[in-house]
Amino acid sequence: MGRYVIRRLLQAVLTLSVVLFMLHYLMSLAIQINGNPVRTFFGDKPVSDELLQATMEKFNLDDPCLKSVGDPCWGMFTDRMQQWSHFDFGTDFQSVKIGDSIANAIPVTLTIFAITTVVWALFGVTAGVLAAMNRGRFIDYLVRIGTTFTLAIPGFLMLILVQNIFGVIIGNWFREQFGRESFLSLIFQPTYSAKAPFLSLVIPGIALGVFGIAGITRLSRTSMLENLRSDFVRTAKAKGLKRTRVTIVHTLRNSLIPVVTVIGFALGDALGGSVVLEGLYNIPGLGLLAFNGVKTNDTAVVIAVVALASVVFMVTNLIVDLFYAVLDPRIRYE
C-alpha cells in the first residue's frame, strides 16, 4: 500500500509538472499571439513605451520571449517554479497576492462541492437504489425519465432557469411572506450573498449537483441491479436476513464501490460547470477566478488556479482509489 501511494504520488508529480509546463506554454503562446495584457491597464489611451515597460516589469511580463511566437519561455517557467517552491504564487494584475485570492476562493468552491457531493450521495444514490429495488415499477420509470431529462437539458440552461425560478420568483415570494432575513429568503437567493455565504450557496450547489446527478443515479441503479442479482445477495436471503439488512448491508455496500469512483471523476467535471455557475451567480470561487484570469490573460492566476484544480483532481482520485481498497477488500495495491 505504502509503495503504491508513493508510486502514485510520483506519477502525480510527473503529470503535474507536464500540466504546469503546458499551461505555462499555452498562456505564453496566448500572450505571444494576442499581445501583452498590460496594454489593457491603460484603456485605449495612448501609452508611452516607458510606462508600458515599467508596468510589464512590475508583473514579470517583460521577458522578450513573449514577443516571439512559439518561444517556450523556459526562463519564465523556471523562475515561476522557483518562486512557487517558496510558496509564493506571485501577484495578479491588481497586485493582489494570488495565494490570498486562492485562499479566499477555496472555501467557497469547497462549500459548493460539498453540497454537490451531498446531493449526489443523498439524492443520486437514493434515487438509483430505489429505482433498482422497484425495478419496472413507477419509481423506476420516474427515476429513469428524470435522469434522461437531466442528461438532455444542458447544464447552463438549467442554471439559468434555476436562478430565475428559484432565486427570483420563488425567492421573492418568500421574501414578501417572511421578510428578507428569513431562512428561506436567504436560501432562495438569485446570487451569492456575502451576508449569508453558506445559505446562498445551497441552491447553486444543488443546481451543480443536478448537473452530474444522472450519471451517479444511473450507475447506482445498475450497480444495485447487478448486485441484487448476485449470488451473495441470494445467499443473504437464504440466510433468512431481513429485507432491509439484505439491501443495506449486503447490496448497497457493494454497489457503492463503483459509485465512489465515479463521484471522484464527476467532481472534475463539476469544476468545469462551476465556471458557468460561479459566473452566473457571481460566486467568488475558483472557477470565476480562473475564467476572469483567462479573460484578462492574467497568466499567473490561471496557472496557479488550474494547477491547483488538477492537483485537487489527482489527489481526489488517489483518495478515491485508496478508499476503493477500503470498500473492496479484494483490491490490494502493491
Binding site: 419496472g136 431481513k242 473492496d328 477488500p329
Partner: protein, 343 residues
C-alpha cells in the same frame, strides 16, 4: 433437537408425523420477453428426515428453480409460482407470509450454493458473514457469535479457524470456501439442507472431500438433504434416492441402486451412458443428440421425444405421467417397461 424446534413459534402448526418435505405438483413460470417459460412443470418428490435425495438434470431442467422455490427466494417477478404445494412437515411453505417465510429460512431450511466465491459477499470477512446469523436470528452478542462461528468452522474442518475467521472469501481456496458455505448453512441447525451443485466448481479430489463432509454431517444430525447436481457420478455414493428432471418435470424417481442398475426412462439411460466410468474404459462416451426444448415453447407430448430412440407417435401427442413402474420407483415414459428391461 428436533423436538425443541417443534415448539418454535415460527411454525407452531407443524405435523411431526408428516414427511419432512413433500413437494407436490410444483409449477414455476417465468415471464420473459418471448412469452411464459415453464421452468418447473409439476415437480413431485418427498424427503424424509435423515434421507438424501439427489435431483439430477441438465442445466435449465428446473432443479435450481425448484430449490429456490422451496427456499422462497425466487425473484417474483419475473418468476411466478403457478401451482403446487411445498409441504414442510405438513405446512405449505408457499402460503406463509413473507415474514414467516423469511424466518423459516435458515432456521428450518438452509441452502448451500454452487459457486461459493460468488455466493459469499466479497466485502465482508467470513467471520462477519457467519456471526451475522447468530446475531440476527439468535440475538447473540458479538463475542458469543464469534465463538459459535469458530465452532462451526471447526466442525467443517477448516484448519486454523481462529485466524481465518477474519479473512475475506477471496483469500480462501475453493474447497475451503465451500466449507464456509456449509458452515453457514448449518449454523442454525436446519431440518433440511439443500445443496445446489455444491461441488461443481471444485477439483475432483476436493469434490469428494466436500461430499464426504456433507454426508457425515447429514448422518450425524439426521437432517434431510437435497443434493442438486447435473452429475450422476457425484451422488452415487451419498444419495438414498434420485429424482431425474427434464424440462421442468420429474421424469424418473428411484432408489439410487435401482436407478443405476436399471434406468426406467430413456433420458436417465442416456445420462448414465455419458458418465465416464472406470469399468468401461476405452468405450466411447455417448452424447445426447439434440437440444432440450425451449421452455417457452414446450412441444405437446413427451418433452424428450425429439431426442429419444424409443419415441413413437404417441410420445409426440400425449404427455406421459409419472407412474409407478416398480417398488419405490416411478417413471414418466410411455415405454418405461421396455426401457427398464433394456432395449
Amino acid at each position: 433437537m428436533a423436538d425443541v424446534k417443534f415448539q418454535s413459534e415460527i411454525l407452531p402448526e407443524l405435523d411431526p408425523s408428516a414427511p419432512l418435505l413433500d413437494v407436490r405438483d410444483l409449477q414455476v413460470e417465468f415471464r420473459t420477453r418471448d412469452g411464459i417459460a415453464k421452468a418447473v412443470n409439476g415437480a413431485n418428490f418427498t424427503v424424509n428426515r435423515g434421507e438424501t435425495l439427489a435431483i439430477v438434470g441438465e442445466s435449465g431442467s428446473g432443479k435450481s428453480v425448484t430449490s429456490q422455490a422451496i427456499m422462497g427466494i425466487l425473484e417474483t417477478p419475473p418468476a411466478k409460482i403457478a401451482g403446487g404445494e411445498v409441504l414442510f412437515h405438513g405446512v405449505d411453505l408457499l402460503t406463509l407470509s413473507k415474514e414467516r417465510k423469511r424466518r423459516v429460512r435458515a432456521n428450518h431450511v438452509a441452502m448451500v450454493f454452487q459457486d461459493a466465491l460468488s455466493a459469499l459477499n466479497p466485502v465482508y470477512t467470513v467471520g462477519f458473514q457467519l456471526a451475522e446469523l447468530f446475531r440476527k436470528h439468535r440475538g447473540m452478542s458479538k463475542a458469543e457469535a464469534k465463538k459459535k462461528s469458530l465452532e462451526l468452522l471447526d466442525l467443517v474442518k477448516i484448519p486454523a479457524a481462529a485466524q481465518r475467521i477474519n479473512e475475506y472469501p477471496h483469500q480462501f481456496s475453493g474447497g475451503m470456501r465451500q466449507r464456509v458455505m456449509i458452515a453457514m448453512a448449518l449454523a442454525l441447525d436446519p431440518d433440511l439442507l439443500i445443496a445446489d451443485e455444491p461441488t461443481t466448481a471444485l477439483d475432483v479430489t476436493v469434490q469428494a472431500q466436500i461430499m464426504r463432509l456433507l454426508a457425515e454431517i447429514q448422518a450425524e444430525r439426521q437432517m434431510g438433504l437435497i443434493l442438486i447436481t447435473h452429475d450422476l457420478g457425484v451422488v452415487a455414493d451419498v444419495a438414498d434416492k434420485i429424482s431425474v428432471m427434464y424440462a421442468g418435470r420429474i421424469v424418473e424417481q428411484a432408489p439410487v441402486l435401482d436407478l443405476f442398475g436399471k434406468p426406467a426412462h430413456p433420458y436417465t439411460k442416456a445420462l448414465l451412458r455419458s458418465i465416464p466410468r472406470l469399468d468401461t474404459k476405452g468405450q466411447k462416451l455417448e452424447v445426447i443428440e439434440g437440444l432440450p426444448p425451449v421452455l417457452t415453447n414446450i412441444p405437446p407430448g413427451c418433452a424428450f421425444a425429439a431426442r429419444c430412440h424409443y419415441a413413437q407417435d404417441v410420445c409426440r401427442t400425449d404427455i406421459p405421467l409419472l407412474e409407478t413402474v416398480a417398488a419405490d420407483r416411478a417413471a414418466a415414459c410411455h415405454f418405461s417397461a421396455e426401457v427398464i428391461n433394456g432395449e
